[in-house]
Symmetry: C2
Subunit: 294 residues, 2 copies
């Protein structure tokens, strides 16, 4: 029985854990993988690091920091939540079941991605998932965005601040926005066969056998949607994001959410704030619970 279970060990989850552990509450962080931060190479826009920090290193620092305040960590994939009697939340994982008075979902975003050979090999080696985060590294370079939705349009607009040598690759999909206003952009509407490179990404081979070289590739494919456990557990979402009130609480009492799963500006700087604010709300609730129990 925990005071709080946090789902996700990224910036939002670990930051919430740091506040909760420091306030003396028994806290468990469940995680299924390293999340989207680990797919990034370096972070240089998070306040406090004069020199760019490896994303994996930042992730590890956060985990160790939470452990200093006695936060427990356990690898398990959460399947769903059930509100049980006595105002407790039952958290069903693939390995085990857990109980807590409060839950904070900081599970990040599962971005619908391409299933193309070579993609995973060059993540963080020229392939990125966030123009705001990494566009700066590719200024004045020849860069492709793979996508066809309004999410891709948004990323494309941001990319044009860094380079005029921009390509939109739709992978043969029908475009869901009007690209004609973006005169600088070259659109290629062929299906993608594979992504190739050496140490770094070099380019894309299409199914018709033709190739196009790129120095950077951004994936903005499909739409991001909230993890399926939300749907299963009756947690309200909108356009792939979990809906929360000002206190970061979802539509279900005692279940809060923070980070990329609620916030479309998927930055470390905003994730840590969400985590801190969700933790503050939960701490206030826990204090009130204890007062009432006296």
């Amino acid at each position: 029985m925990y005071d709080v279970i946090i789902i996700g060990k990224g910036p939002a989850g670990a930051q919430a854990g740091i506040y909760l552990g420091r306030a003396g509450f028994k806290t468990l962080i469940l995680y299924k993988d390293d999340g989207s931060l680990a797919k990034t190479d370096y972070i240089e826009n998070y306040y406090g690091y004069n020199q760019p920090i490896e994303a994996r290193k930042l992730l590890e620092e956060g985990v160790e920091q939470a452990k200093r305040f006695n936060v427990e960590f356990r690898e398990d994939e959460v399947v769903m939540f059930l509100s049980s009697e006595d105002n407790q939340i039952l958290v069903k994982g693939l390995k085990e079941e857990y109980k807590a008075s409060y839950v904070i979902i900081a599970a990040g975003m599962t971005r619908k991605s391409l299933n193309v050979p070579g993609l995973k090999d060059y993540e963080g080696k020229g392939i990125s998932y966030c123009v705001t985060c990494d566009g700066f590294f590719f200024r004045n370079r020849k860069v492709a965005i793979i996508g066809y939705t309004r999410f891709a349009e948004h990323e494309l607009n941001d990319l044009l601040m860094f380079t005029k040598n921009a390509y939109l690759l739709t992978n043969g999909k029908d475009m869901e926005f009007d690209v004609s206003a973006l005169k600088e952009v070259t659109v290629i509407n062929k299906q993608i066969n594979l992504i190739y490179g050496e140490d770094q990404v070099k380019g894309i081979e299409f199914k018709d056998g033709s190739k196009e070289g790129f120095e950077g590739i951004f994936i903005a494919y499909g739409t991001a949607d909230a993890s399926s456990f939300c749907v299963k557990s009756g947690i309200a979402t909108d356009k792939g994001k979990i809906l929360v009130d000002d206190s970061k609480m979802t539509n279900i009492d005692r279940i809060y959410a923070a980070g990329d799963c609620i916030n479309s500006y998927m930055q470390v700087a905003t994730a840590v704030s969400d985590g801190a604010l969700a933790a503050r709300s939960v701490i206030e609730r826990l204090k009130a619970d204890r007062k009432n129990a006296k």
Copy 2:
């Protein structure tokens, strides 16, 4: 002529500068001092630092980080803002005048403080201004809060999570809240003469000559109020905080605000998020301005 002038070089201001500089906008940060962060000893609850970091070191890292992205820094105290013709903001400093298309106020809070001998000597050496930040360092110790307002009540409630050996020192002021519910707290209603100590704070001497030893002292005296330049410039505030909308814009077009001056949860983790979000809003505006100018 700058794209953006930021007031304040703390976490909110520097984080905004990092985003703006990285996006290629000409940005100036004006600061009058090192702000409240520099009055803190160590930070251990900001995500990403496994080991506690000296607050001064964190502040310097943030400044250097912004400088890497060509953000300029200049020491000057801002007196007021004037919206001039051509949608520009005139920023009047004590030394000079500056012009920018947008302003982000990240000036922190001027906390009304005690004027008591010894106070300044022990800041960061047992004297702190934030229980959420530093209460953990004083768990189970004998600790005093100096204050009499509801702000002091809030801090006192937080302090009781860390120690039951808590004192409220009103410095002879009438209390503005009911302390009788807090049975564990000892109230001393005498006027304070001085704060004494050696390397660290040791205690307080009252005007009647009596003394009381403490291992830690928190200042929660009076209420915090927004800097006077806001009042002079017609920027709306409420209870000492600058009012902003969802985009972090104040009631005056092109003037935004971020950090402790808008946020009552005065944490580095929330300040950086405010800074990032204000910068994002300003970047969107600047992009639109450029599009319209074509």
